[in-house]
Symmetry: C2
Subunit: 385 residues, 2 copies
């Protein structure tokens, strides 16, 4: 472990928490880890959730479960008990909406990308800014648009991952697979690490498999889903980056140097478009895993990426009349129809003679969907209707 | 044949057409029949076409085929080449809308019922008003919300029916059945009448049969659909009515006597609610047929009552993209979906993974329907959503 646990920075003027014991001392703790920075990449439209999600209104800005809070709000809230600071990396287009939704994230911690350049550039820029502002910190990167059922269990896994990250590992949190899904990558889990209880070696990362391969992996055991959660010291991440993606390393270092100055925007606009578009999985996780540098902490919590309406509906409970409603208060009547899902909309809705249909109404568009075809919504979203 | 062919009435001040030959002399003629009055009962919501049709916006007021004209406009236009006058009987609630849609019908010929009391009262009142204003005329009653493919063939059948009606018969126009439908009543056709070429004796009226009975009748031949079209002299109709439904006869006679006076509204409001609710089929057609007094003219034209969205769609041609559009200009995209029907609506619509669905959007409501369940729309319409 390197760097100070005391936090003094312009971005967060609140005093560092005065914890007397090691704040990441146990998975049952709920104390802030004073050198832990949560990084939340908030990108991705979520096009299979069209027309709820749209380029101007991406999934992470939506109250998808009808709880009264959006996915990015839930993500920030979920990490708040752990993180001394939170940095959100999002598109310039969405910066104002993000700032409005999570006002507890200070403006200096809101990193606005001019254009999307995939997850490696986003996470690397956050790491470089943290490193320059504070020296080495443990950072944990978590997507802004996932749904997690048990936040306490989630934080316990992160706490374990932080302990493992202090040993110099790139640490991912693996999700216990509940089905032979071909929608996620898989992580082959190895032996438990001797110096971080609850973390395991990673043998390899597997790209999204075909259904048969997924079934084989599920049956053989020892595989967890890759949910894109990475916990790593900023120094370790930047070292890997410098070696594996020197162009990105140089670029984000230059941008970070200008970040807290008047040159931020000019530098960002000049350098950002030159950064290689690559996912952190390919840029770092896979090559470092091959060299034995990645660990995995199995998460004992419900996790959902809520990729499409089918998976969204699976998270919700129908009302007494059998209709599942999301953000809908207007009347729904069903006649010879079961498993109807009504999302949004202000007019009376009647569904007649159709089972397992999802009707989604946004201000702009109306989607009528067979739940079984939920993946195909992407075609509608990208058709430029 | 009784009464004068010359028309002198307050309601229509245009001079009677000065035809030199018998205007109903042949089925190929398109001359006005100068003693023929078209009566158009405009009632019935058309609840299986909800939410297009609503109690305040019944089917006959709709441009259901997207032709730019409504069903009642089409009905009046279809009869105009035949009829010296046209009387529309509708609900008070719809009188203004009817007047606006068919301005060619003079105000004095717009009969507004305080409440619906079924077809016998409506047609009898029209007959009594005609008889009192003009003496005996041949009247033809035709619903305001049917679709007829070949208006020239339709008028040829009416012309034949008028000839038969001059012999004192109650004449109906039968529709050649194209399927074993259980949605219509059937008429058993007898021998051709000797004194009216093209008209046949009616053996009996059959109520809407079950599908098996319908199939048997279709196979045996000699049956036509009862489309509720009646052509009869007003004197003959009122004589039957006096004998078979003396209460209705007395009531409509009293109302008709007050019709073209200041007492119209008071008399209507006092007497109308006392009239027996009965269809003309039961009140007159069936008993008179049993006594040999009904004739039928088989119609050689396409006829549709457009009872539900399935039958409506059957009348329309899909666009090049396979989507059938009715009153819809906004974009429709289909993905893994065939036989999509889009009715109304102003938002982009995408249909994903569903075949043969009908999506109807009105100002008030949204209907998502399996075409096969079109009859069940009535349940939605009457559910008070």
């Amino acid at each position: 472990m390197t760097g100070s646990h005391n936090i003094h920075d312009a971005a967060d003027s609140s005093p560092a928490p005065s914890t007397t014991d090691r704040t990441d001392s146990g998975p049952g703790s709920e104390a802030v880890i004073d050198d832990f920075v949560a990084v939340i990449p908030a990108g991705g439209v979520g096009s299979r959730l069209w027309p709820l999600s749209q380029p101007h209104r991406p999934k992470f800005l939506l109250d998808l479960l009808g709880t009264g809070t959006t996915l990015i709000q839930d993500t920030v809230t979920r990490l708040a008990p752990l993180a001394a600071q939170t940095i959100v990396v999002t598109g310039q287009r969405h910066a104002d909406a993000v700032a409005a939704q999570v006002p507890q994230v200070p403006a200096a911690n809101l990193v606005a990308e001019p254009t999307p350049r995939d997850s490696m550039a986003a996470i690397a820029l956050a790491a470089a800014i943290i490193q320059l502002r504070h020296g080495d910190r443990i950072m944990g990167s978590f997507a802004a648009d996932h749904v997690i059922g048990e936040p306490h269990e989630f934080r316990a896994a992160v706490r374990t991952a932080v302990v493992a990250a202090r040993t110099g590992k790139v640490v991912t949190i693996g999700i216990n697979p509940t089905e032979a899904s071909s929608a996620f990558g898989y992580i082959a889990q190895g032996d438990e690490l001797p110096d971080a209880s609850g973390a395991f070696a990673v043998r390899e990362f597997t790209e999204k498999p075909d259904p048969q391969t997924a079934a084989t992996m599920l049956a053989s055991g020892g595989y967890v889903w890759n949910a894109g959660m990475f916990v790593v010291s900023t120094a370790v991440l930047l070292e890997h980056l410098e070696r594996l993606q020197p162009g990105i390393y140089a670029g984000v270092t230059e941008i970070a140097a200008a970040w807290d100055s008047d040159d931020r925007q000019a530098t960002l606009e000049r350098v950002w478009p030159t950064l290689t578009k690559i996912a952190i999985d390919h840029a770092i996780a896979e090559p470092v895993a091959a060299a034995g540098g990645v660990a995995v902490v199995p998460g004992a919590f419900d996790w959902h990426d809520v990729g499409d309406f089918d998976s969204l509906v699976g998270l919700l409970t129908p009302d007494a009349d059998g209709v599942t409603r999301i953000g809908r208060t207007a009347v729904v009547g069903t006649f010879g129809s079961q498993g109807v899902v009504a999302v949004g909309g202000t007019k009376v809705l009647a569904v007649v003679g159709l089972d397992d249909v999802v009707i989604v109404e946004s201000d702009e568009a109306l989607l009528v969907l067979s739940r079984a075809a939920a993946q195909q919504v992407k075609d509608a979203a990208t058709a430029g209707l």
